[in-house]
Symmetry: D2
Subunit: 246 residues, 4 copies
Amino acid sequence: MRILLSNDDGYFAPGIEALAQALADVADITVVAPERDRSGASNSLTLDRPLSLRRAANGFYYVNGTPTDCVHLAVTGMLDELPDMVVSGINHGANMGDDTVYSGTVAAATEGYLLGIPSIAVSLVSRSDKHFETAAQVARRLVLHYAERPLKQPVLLNVNVPDLPVEQVGDLRITRLGKRHKAEPVVRAKTPRGETVYWVGAAGTAQDAGEGTDFHAVAAGHVSVTPLQLDLTHNGQLPLIRDWLA
Amino acid sequence: MRILLSNDDGYFAPGIEALAQALADVADITVVAPERDRSGASNSLTLDRPLSLRRAANGFYYVNGTPTDCVHLAVTGMLDELPDMVVSGINHGANMGDDTVYSGTVAAATEGYLLGIPSIAVSLVSRSDKHFETAAQVARRLVLHYAERPLKQPVLLNVNVPDLPVEQVGDLRITRLGKRHKAEPVVRAKTPRGETVYWVGAAGTAQDAGEGTDFHAVAAGHVSVTPLQLDLTHNGQLPLIRDWLA
Amino acid sequence: MRILLSNDDGYFAPGIEALAQALADVADITVVAPERDRSGASNSLTLDRPLSLRRAANGFYYVNGTPTDCVHLAVTGMLDELPDMVVSGINHGANMGDDTVYSGTVAAATEGYLLGIPSIAVSLVSRSDKHFETAAQVARRLVLHYAERPLKQPVLLNVNVPDLPVEQVGDLRITRLGKRHKAEPVVRAKTPRGETVYWVGAAGTAQDAGEGTDFHAVAAGHVSVTPLQLDLTHNGQLPLIRDWLA
Amino acid sequence: MRILLSNDDGYFAPGIEALAQALADVADITVVAPERDRSGASNSLTLDRPLSLRRAANGFYYVNGTPTDCVHLAVTGMLDELPDMVVSGINHGANMGDDTVYSGTVAAATEGYLLGIPSIAVSLVSRSDKHFETAAQVARRLVLHYAERPLKQPVLLNVNVPDLPVEQVGDLRITRLGKRHKAEPVVRAKTPRGETVYWVGAAGTAQDAGEGTDFHAVAAGHVSVTPLQLDLTHNGQLPLIRDWLA
């Protein structure tokens, strides 16, 4: 089995090292990840300059581009054979609800999925990065499960793992994405040269975190697994808009 | 009526000027757009540095960030009142099918929608930018229609306009997103210093361009209008994945 | 006479517009400047990606690179004939003493000089950009003087103009560079996500601002003109180091 | 003895690792280097955003900025005491003649010097990075020599080491900077989207490489040591320009 790993925190991040270690005896691993932290990169693609691919001392490859660039370049220009799976992460912090739209971790898996490869994004719901080994074990378990029971249709799974020791983590729960409240407003600051600048504010708190959501599962100590799709068409609104513009 | 305009081609692009002109007598316009071409930016947010907001000679504001940053900053930190609508574009080139995932034009409208504002992304299906005025008239017509008949539920419309003179353009068609074939592989090049670099290749050709899709409508000379939503949950796959992991 | 203009504040900056206007009837002007503010760029060259050259509505060209890139690209790849002169500026703020080492304005002129073209960097000693027209008149006067009385040896002039109405400005003074005190320390700040970041602090105040320096001339209301060279060899120290390492 | 190390190739580059190892038993070493390759950065300072300082697994610190930013931040905001010396490198490739104007390696040492600290830039004259250990031994030797026989006046040394095994390298030679021919013209290329882009061309070949220059010393297998200064005033041209503008 061949697995391509990527992330958005950079090739040197502890999350991707934990992932590579946990999968080393299960599959033939190639790591292709951004050369620097690209959190918040979403699905951005670099179109205005070419990408470089370099190899670090530990054998990981890094690219001067986005998570999407990394997977795109690895699959369409570097690897001799298609990987059997793309695993992205382990992200340092949650990717739940609307976060998925901005997340570079989810984007790396998305690019694998768009290229026809079963893909998994794995995030640790923590800002203190304690239990990467828990998330790594979850990833390992999903990969092994997929190897034994491959799915016929394409699959893109968004996995969020609570920051707990392995033995304290609950079951896997299949969830839908919840919703967050609007983000906090931008935060003004002054530069030493007297100019006003604006920091993007914190993400909103969970708004729809009811039963069945990723927020709900993780809050209860479970691992949340959400199957994603990328067709943004609002099918439910098609008749309304048709009527409105008639 | 107050309208916030943005784009991904940069504040100086002819598409956003055409849009601002066409809407000038309809609404109170504020333009907040990226300081440089950010095509392919998707929903990326700038989290590792603060943003600057500056005003060009023509009154347009520009931000050293992404399309998403522009709308986010304008709405949460700059404008005194919420705009009644966000219009993004006119993009130089189509944003149909899977393009919507990578598009900065769609992302600017998406950010408006996530902040609770009715939002429209407008793209001209052309690489030769001939008929921006056609797309500008379509945008104007949709804005006026919305002003007369506001919708109660939040709305995010992705509009693609054929590159034809106004009088040759067909009706509005309410569509679903089509699908593209996989993108072309990366293209290798050599730098003058002998290093190998890789350009992201061209987008794939349309794969699902059947009746009802955006590709189909535009190919027939119609304006395509697709309502979008941002919940990536693959609802249809929930039972399958639940079963698979049981 | 053909003159290439560039700067480090960006092609849209009022300083370069004032310069282009003041020289329009004197020479055939081509403007090639950075697409965004690159203050502090020094002589940096972009080696890891190629450069794009685009034309703005007003006929100015802009490059997604540094001031040095702009002059380099214009001279070695774009212009059919070598320009007779490179003029860089008008910078918004002084470039005196040690500033010259960091300045992108000086760097653009430096690149012209290294390519064998007489070059002038022009800066307005002000943070409130009131009297660009004064600096533009100084530039015009120097260019006309050079056209009448060309110098045989290569020349790189660093010109700083006090922010005064034309009629209040004193004579030209030929000066040496002064020296500043060390820069202010970096300024700590917190991001909304709780991370510590550091702003580069303000430039130091003048330390050697005695008679004969650029600081002294400008403080007295004169225009400072300093001829520069680029050989950093510390000739005076050669015997000492030879002795020391013997 | 406390030594600050930096470079322009990035904190992960083999050259800075070789340097850190060679100096580990001689001094208390702190490494603060760019998070990515910033070759060609010259003395550029980051003024439009704040800098982050992070610690890699091996204890090296990295900054999302230029070589100049790294030394500036380390000295004015991070280190409790002034370092006794700044050593920059080992650069992968020569920094001789006019290269010194563009070099980020020289710039990191320059910033140390401007902040009042004796500073050395070390480069390996090779594109195949074979003998970093030779350059590291040269650096070690210079540092030990300085520790024994400190100089009273500020010193900035630019050191270029031939790419030879330690036992084959000749003596230290105190040199002046040579001169290069003009750089090669930019190289045109086409993007996959059909746009013309331009790569900065290769550096020129040596023009003034006569006896006494850095080029000459290294070509003969010697280590070149050039003391630098940063006052760009063209003292020899002052009378000429005074006369010309009188």
